[in-house]
Symmetry: C2
Subunit: 367 residues, 2 copies
């Protein structure tokens, strides 16, 4: 087995964590390998505020009285070098005189310089960046580098880019398997859904997470609701008002509201320059609420806003086998400004999966 | 080897033919197998008006003095039973007392009842319909059953169903590999391109077949040109007016035109009820010109017309990794009539292939 193989084992360990337990931290896995190539310790980061992967891996090796002075530590992300909720992992590595550390991805946090510190202290540091390890932490990386949540734009369209007929009817463009994927993967990975009052009222959907043979799970919901329409009395039975124990509904508005609200509804003040919400102002607040990844399930106008404000990171698109010929049927991106072909937004296709007659396409968007 | 395996060999033989040599006939392959399971004869239909696959296969077995009285004939399509340009194959099979015939697809022509005739004459007839064999002759089957050419609708769109910006600029939405596929497969299989004068004038494309390392090939071009705009003097240098030796430009119009035309330009009278051409009236004429398969490369309006007239058989779609947010950017289907989600056109996805960041989707359309 070579370094890449050992890093892959550490990667598989890292992936065991539940994204919601570790937020806002990254997925990290680590293994300790002795000089015969045997794995003598392993660990992965399981819960924010608790032990890092390196600590768990080293401790599990120490329990067996292993000699670490000839061992190699394989870790999917550069070890931390600063004191956060736990002491720096670099100290532990140096304390146990581990002579070699192989790193699968760098920590984008500029406060972390673990690789340099270890190297300066005489540790043989090998950096072998693995694209799948970097990709696993795309949310963490965006949080750190862009100081904002990661935004995933989800849409289900006809072959010709329509999300509903001209009267707004959209049931059902995508098939059951596609909808299951939305719950099992897209919503499960997200810390909140971002949508609009219009969508919430029209579709009257619960916006929770439903996976076969499991209890429904709640999910934070951020609603762009300038007029606070969802608080109107005729909307009091909307599906989104299910019993929430651990999540909230956040209403984004520029209106003043002084009445008391149920404890799981919170108003966030936002600005709407030229009618479209300015999401960039909310970055810090959302991250402080541990909302690190947002799934956007709104209409064509919100989709266009996210692209124009250059904060949509991924597009998760189901192309479904139907056609709505009608020009007035609703577009998945709805904007009235002229855009030339030379200025069209360019994306990178990173995944294609077929669900019966639907095709799922995942794109990365760079600006 | 079982019957399916032998039929597959006959299928591979059938596919060797060049579609343009055999039109309007189907692809047919045949093999003769002796009672030890050895292939003793093979053939495929190579040119319209010349020998059928069964004749070539039987003759190639006879040359080797093979005994056919214990042999089996595997043929991809039901043997003909009527006298066309060649005598019925059923006669030949009976004359050589071949005791067993295995058939991979039925001839949709109701004049053909080869399977019944052979069976009535005491031949053991086994019918094992193979989907890939049926699919190979989809053009022939549509020609026979619907008495019209097969129409393949081709489009290259942004992720959100746009084919050009609002000023009509579309260069280049699809990538080089996708465009190569259009020439190598879609145009090469077609007997004509159907387009509009507007597209021809705007794009000023040649509309021929260009394959790397081969000379450009000419291709019939059918232009919906009610005003006969391409004949106007300012358009005399359009790319479509390349030197044509074996193909024509057909202009569809309801205008009278009495001037003399170059011999490779022909006017076809058509009707335009409510502004959109009625293609169904032209079916017989087009088939009589041996135009059995048409690739449609026009704009959104023509695309919508073909769907509404229920003659588009396949949709060959490239989804390309760009977004044009502008609502006024040009839609791949352009129609002003209301269509509800319940009445959306349903398609079947039959192929998905990735060409770098483009994804090619092929759909069958049934009405």
């Amino acid at each position: 087995m070579n370094s890449e193989d050992y890093l892959h084992i550490a990667f598989l360990l890292a992936k065991r964590a539940n994204s919601k337990d570790i937020r806002p931290n990254p997925y990290v896995g680590a293994i300790v390998v002795d000089n015969n190539g045997e794995i003598i310790g392993e660990g992965y980061h399981q819960k924010a505020g608790e032990a890092h992967a390196e600590v768990l891996a080293i401790n599990s090796a120490l329990i067996k009285n292993s000699d670490l002075s000839n061992a190699t530590l394989y870790v999917t992300m550069e070890p931390c070098s600063h004191t956060g909720k736990t002491p720096p992992c670099t100290n532990l590595i140096l304390a146990h005189k581990i002579p070699k550390v192989v790193i699968g991805s760098m920590d984008p946090n500029p406060l972390v310089s673990g690789a340099k510190i270890l190297s300066d202290a005489g540790v043989n540091v090998e950096i072998g960046i693995q694209p799948n390890i970097v990709e696993l932490n795309s949310t963490f990386n965006i949080n750190q580098l862009n100081k904002r949540p990661k935004y995933v734009l989800k849409a289900a369209t006809t072959i010709n880019g329509k999300i509903a007929d001209r009267h707004g009817n959209s049931k059902w463009i995508s098939n059951e398997k596609s909808r299951a994927y939305v719950h099992q993967i897209l919503r499960s990975n997200a810390d909140a859904i971002l949508t609009t009052a219009q969508t919430v009222i029209k579709d009257n959907a619960k916006m929770n997470i439903r996976v076969p043979d499991e209890d429904a799970k709640e999910l934070n919901l951020i609603i762009i609701d300038r007029a606070l329409a969802v608080l109107e009395v005729q909307n009091k039975n909307l599906g989104i008002f299910y019993q929430r124990n651990r999540t909230k509904i956040y209403l984004l508005t520029d209106k003043e509201y002084t009445d008391e609200l149920p404890k799981n509804i919170e108003i966030i003040k936002a600005n709407f320059p030229e009618g479209a919400i300015d999401l960039s102002e909310l970055n810090e607040l959302l991250l402080s609420k541990n909302i690190c990844e947002i799934l956007v399930e709104g209409g064509g106008k919100l989709n266009a806003t996210l692209i124009k404000q250059q904060i949509a990171d991924e597009l998760a698109m189901f192309i479904c086998p139907s056609l709505l010929l009608d020009n007035e049927a609703i577009n998945v991106f709805n904007d009235s400004e002229f855009q030339s072909i030379e200025n069209s937004v360019q994306l990178n296709l990173t995944e294609t999966t077929q669900y019966d007659n639907d095709i799922f396409l995942k794109y990365l968007i760079s600006y």
